[in-house]
Amino acid sequence: MAGYTLRRVLLIVPVVWGAMTLLFLAFMVRGNPIETLIGERASSATVRAQITQKYGLDQPVLVRYGRYLKNVSHGDLGRSYKQGRSVNDILKQTAPNSLRLAVWAILIEILIGLTAGIISAVRQYSFLDTFVTVSTTMLVAVPVFVLGYLFQYALGVYAFQHNFPAWLRFPTSGIGPNKWYFGFIPSAGEWKYLLLPAVTLASVSTAVVARMTRTTMLEVLRADYMRTAVAKGLTPRRVILKHGLKNAMIPVVTLIGLDLASLIGSAVLTESVFNWPGMGGTVARAAQSLDAPVVLGLTLVLVVAYVVINLLVDLSYAFFDPRIRYGGDAT
């Protein structure tokens, strides 16, 4: 296990270095940052020279690459071309927002996904089961952003136009007062801004979790030890939750872990739709305006997060399922 863990941790190094190099090369190929910096205004040669010097664009590529690697390894992600501040600042400002949204999305995913999956398995072929199966299949095919706009339209536009009760009307954009208790519990004015983006972000994963829970639960329900538990005279609730769910959880937990990583992708879309001031939306906007340092910096942070999460998930297999041993040291 130790050997396997070490190998996996070491694999992070080439992946992250590869990502950095690719990202750097990417924006080197892409031509002229001076144009990006100045925009469409007319500019004198002096101004151009100054900017060139300020951002070190007159240096050879290898020197810039070396300096970039050095800076990043010291935790300095550079300066935005467009926003006139450091990428670290942008990161500090946006990362907490992204994390809060992700945490709530995962909570929703677990709560709704598990419940739907369990009900669907226990009452197989009932109306509820059919409903869960059909709706989860459909949810996977709806683009995240279309779903976001559907919510916005139903609860943000239609609800206002047709005088729905106040609790059914939601703001469509932004993060609101941005006040949180203990870092992630939304304040009274905040939760309405949080709910729609969080549900949207959670949607695809919730569907996947529900289907996975249903499948594994159905398998577990047929197991002999379940019959034994019933025969012992345990209540159905206890049989299902204690004996069934615990064993059905193994693949689901790993799935939720992996989804953590894929949330990063959906977050780009969700944050764009709801103008949520997080990392994903910022990357998308920066990519459109060719603000290379921002895209480079934030993407790098996200890639590292993604790789680390994947590693933790892989290692957690062995923790949740004692039958799994890595590295061949088991007999």
Binding site: V142, Y149, V157
Partner: protein, 311 residues
């Protein structure tokens, strides 16, 4: 060993490759069982109503894409000044902010989506099968190296990687296709590698080898037909995912460019009119949804039809 010669039409003799004479289930001389196998698959596929619906939708959409100029009545770039955003008899789905007919643009949008879906799956298939074949068939260091590369590729969050690559290469239809293909080949490689590892030790491969087949022939004629089923299923679902990704990229402003009528782009442009004309956004949205559903259903149906044991 000289291959047996049989006279072909026109009096010339054609060389028949020796391995055709080996009786393995996929060999060309057992034509009849293969036909019945196809019938059997089709019979199972037909039983799945959703899968048939998916296939029907895809067929209709392909026709719509090909016949777009016939079934629409207005040029997708033309602008109607007297138009209102709302749907009307002249503009079934209304017009967009520039006065362009949304129905026409949704129909033409299917061309973009299907092109991206089919072309990127082809690219991913070719890359994935090549990498998988080399890794699985030759093994050793090359295998380790190729599998590490797939690991590195899989370590990138998909959408982010696509955004970065497209920003770099520049926005165009072909960029989107290449990027989606280049980021999507890994599962094909893993699937094919897995199958090759299973199949290549079997006796009929040894027999083919003894009959003098080269590596290329063994991989393409003897292994691929027996490993193709999960690949077909995954490829079908991949097309749906590619349609979804293309829409997402266009929506984020890193996909195809104006005035191309791509569904994702139409949604991005319609977002400003959510209050006044939600149809601008929801008609193309529904088109994406229906297309992706169709491919997912068909993929599920194919899986059940190709391998009944999986049910």
């Amino acid at each position: 060993m000289t291959a047996p010669r049989i006279p072909a039409a026109g009096g010339q003799s054609a060389e028949v490759p020796a391995d055709v004479l080996i009786r393995d289930p996929q060999a060309a001389d057992s034509l009849a069982p293969e036909l019945s196998q196809r019938t059997e698959i089709w019979r199972r596929f037909r039983k799945n109503k959703l899968a048939v619906a998916g296939l029907a939708i895809i067929v209709i959409e392909v026709f719509a894409a090909v016949l777009a100029p016939v079934i629409t009545f207005i040029d997708y770039k033309s602008i109607a000044f007297e138009g209102k955003l709302a749907p009307s008899a002249a503009h079934w789905f209304g017009t967009d902010a520039l006065g362009r007919d949304v129905y026409t643009r949704v129909v033409y949008g299917s061309r973009i989506s299907l092109q991206v879906g089919l072309a990127s799956v082809t690219l991913a298939l070719v890359m994935g099968l090549a990498a998988g074949a080399v890794a699985g068939f030759y093994g050793g260091k090359l295998d380790g190296f190729l599998m590490r590369i797939t690991d590195v590729f899989l370590a990138f969050p998909y959408i982010l990687a696509a955004i970065v690559l497209i920003t770099v290469i520049g926005r165009s239809l072909w960029t989107v296709i290449i990027v989606l293909g280049a980021l999507g080949w890994m599962p094909f490689a893993r699937l094919f590698r897995g199958s090759i590892l299973q199949i290549k030790e079997l006796e009929y491969i040894e027999a083919a080898r003894a009959a003098g087949c080269g590596d290329w022939r063994i991989i393409t004629r003897h292994i691929l037909p027996n490993a193709i089923q999960p690949i077909i299923v995954y490829a079908t679902i991949f097309v749906g995912t590619a349609v979804l990704s293309e829409a997402a990229l266009s929506f984020l402003g890193v996909g195809v460019t104006e005035p191309t009528p791509a569904w994702g782009l139409m949604i991005a442009q319609g977002r400003a009119y959510l209050f006044t004309a939600p149809g601008l956004l929801f008609f193309p949205g529904a088109a994406i949804f229906i297309t992706v559903m169709a491919f997912v259903f068909m993929g599920d149906g194919l899986r059940d039809a190709l391998d009944p044991r999986l049910r």
